[in-house]
Amino acid sequence: MKKTLIKCLLLVVLFQIEVVAEEKNYHKELITDWSRIFPDKNRNAAGPKFFKYIIDKENTYKDFIEYNKLFCAVSGSLIDPNSDSEFLFVKESKSNSKICGNYYRCCVPCSCDVMKYSEVQKMKYKFTDGLKEFYVITIKNPCNKTDFPNRVNKNYFCNGKKINSNQVYNLDNRIVIGLLHNGRLCKKDDINLVKSHQITGQYCELRNNTPLEKLDAGMGDIFIKLAR
C-alpha cells in the first residue's frame, strides 16, 4: 500500500514537472533567427539555407524533425505550424527506386516540383541523442549553370563552381534542400495512392507537363531553373 502511494505521488510530481516545463517553440525560433539565416533578406528557393541552419544547431532527432516541418524546401518560405504534409514519392539517387514519404510545403505546386526536379538520398547524422538515418531531398550542384536564376542569391549556394558548404549542406556533391519525412521504399499501394491523389496525381501531371515559360504558380521557374 505504502509503495503504491509513493508511486502515485511520484507520478503526480512527474506530471507536474511536465506541465511546468516549457515546450520548445520551433516556429518562433525560426522566426527569431530569420535575419541570421537570410542576412540579405532573400529567401528565394533558399530551403537549403534553412536545412543547413537547422542541422548546425545542437539538436535531438526530434528537434531536427520538428524544425524540418516548418519551411518549404522549394520556396524557402516558412510554413505555419500544424500544417498538413503531402504524401508523395521522389526518386532515390543511388537506386533509382521510388521513396515515399511526407513533404511539408507552402503551396501545392511545390509538391510537384519536388517530385520532378529533386531526388532523395540516405543521410546519417549524429544528433545529441544518437546516430540516425533518414532521407533528405537534394538537387544537383547548380553552380556550373549559365542560366542560374538571378532572383536566387548564388553566394548562398556556390563558391565558384563548387557547392558552398559553409552556407548549404553538401551531400555527395548535391545540395540538401530539406527532409523527406517518414521516408521509406514505396509499396505498390503507396504509388497508386500518390498517383490517384488530386494534387500529386492529376494536378502534378498537368503542372509537370507544362512548359516552363507558361508556369505561373508557386515559385515557378525560380526553383526549377535552379534544380533542373
Binding site: K2, V12, Q16, V19, K28, I31, T32, W34, S35
Partner: protein, 495 residues
Amino acid sequence: METELGKSKILLQKMLIKKVNYLKKILIISFLILPINNSSAEFFRDLSNIIEFNETRLSYGVSVTDINMDGNYEFIVTGFGYPNLALTYIDGKLKNIAQDEIFIDQFRKTIGVAACDIDKDGYEEIYFLNTDTYSGTKKYSDRLIDKKDNYYFDLFEIEKNKESLNLTAGRSVVCVDRKGTGEYGIYVANYGGPTRFYEFENFKIIDKAGYLNLGNVTGGRAVVSGHILTDRADIFAANERGANFLLKNNNGNFEDVAFDYRVDDVIQNGRGTALSDIYYRGRLDILSGNWLGYHRAYVLENNKFKDIGNKDFDKPSRIRTIISADFDNDGFDEVFMNNIAEPNKLFKITEKGKFEEIKLKTALETEGFGTGAAVADIDNDGILELLVSRGESKAQSLTLYKAKVEKQSKFLRIKPINKFGAPARGATVTLISNKRKHSKTIDAGSGYLCQMEPVAHYGIRKNEKDFRVEVKWTNGKIDFMDKIKLNQTITIKQK
C-alpha cells in the same frame, strides 16, 4: 475469546486510522503541488459609468498630461473623424474639458498622441498625429498644440514652421530628450514615408531626421524611448514589413543596433511596445507585441536581448497597446494586452520574469475593438485607472477600469520634474528595497499610439521595507532619496 476479538478490532481500527492519516497527507501534498491557477474572477472593476457623455465613437491613441496646469492629469483621447477629448476627474466623474476648435479638431483623423515640453517652458505641448490614409502621402498634416494665455494654437500653422509639415501617414509618436538637456524632440513613426524627428530650435520647428540618420522609410508602428542601452534616451521602434530599429544614443546621435542585439524581428509586424523591468533587477527591458505574431519579452543578457515570453504570453493575437503597470498595488507589475476584435489579456510578472495569466472577466471586452489604452491615477487615490479607447471598425464608447486592491495595500508614486518644470519623460525611476530593485520609465510615448502618465507608480509588496528611490535623468545623472514614507506621490525636481 471476546478479549482477543476486541484486541483485533482495536488493532484494525488503529491500522485504519493510520492509513487514513497517511492518505490525508498524500492528498494534501498532491493538492499543494497541483498547478497554481492565479486566475482571478474579477481583477478589475468597471468604472465606465463615470465617463460623462460617453458616446460611441472612433477613438485611437490616448495620452496623459496636465493640459490646464492645475496639477492633475487629463486623459487626452484622440478621435478619428471625432473630437479629440481631454477627460479630467471632477466630482467623481470624468468630464471632457476640451473646448477649443484647434484641439478638438473633429474633421482631421487623429490616431497617435504624445505630450512633452519641446520649448522648455514647463508646459507639455501635445503632438497629434493625423492619418487619413493607410500609407504614404496624406491630406492633412499633424498638429503640435501649444498653449498661451489660455489659448490653444498649432505650432505647425505658424508660417515659418509650414515647411516642416508631416504629410506622410504615420502611427506613433515619442518624445526624445536626445541630448539630455531637457529639450525634447519628437520622433514620428511614419508609414510608407521617412521618419520625422522634430526639434524646436530658434523658435522654429525643424525636422532633423535626415541629419540624425533617422529618416528611414518603413512601416512605422510603435516607438518608445528611455534608458534601454545607454545613460541617454535610446529609441526602440517596432515596425511592420521591415526590421525593428533599436537606436542607440551616442552623444545625441543614433546608431541602429537592432540586428546586433537580436530585436530586429524582421518578419513580424510590430505593435504594442512598452519598457518594463521584467526581472525586477533595476533596468528597463522591452515588451514588444506583434500583430498576429509572437509577442516578445526581451531581456538583455550578455549584450543580446533574449525573448523569455512563455507560451501563454507570446501567443499571437490582434494586439494593439501593451501596458506594463502595477494595477493592484501588490508590488508586481501586470502586463495589459489590448487586443482588437479579440479578448484582452492580463499577465502578472512574478519573480524571475515569469508571466502568469490572470483570467479576466471585467475588461475582457470580447466584442471590443480596442485601439488604445493608457493608465493614470486620475482620481489621486493611489490606484491606477485604465482607460481603453475603441473604434476603428466599429464606433464604440470608452471604457474605464480599476483593479480591486487589498484594503491594507500601500503605494508610492514618484513624479520626476526636469529643470524646466516639465515631466521628465524618458527618465528612469528605480525603487530599491529589501525585496527588489525595480525600474520604471517615465513614459515618453508611444507603445502604440498612446502615452502613460509621467509618474512611476509602485504598489508595495508584503513585508517590504528599507525603501530608497533613485532617479536617472535623461542626461544620465542620478539623484537618490531615502527615508521614504509610503502612500504618497513624491515630486522630485532635477537640480
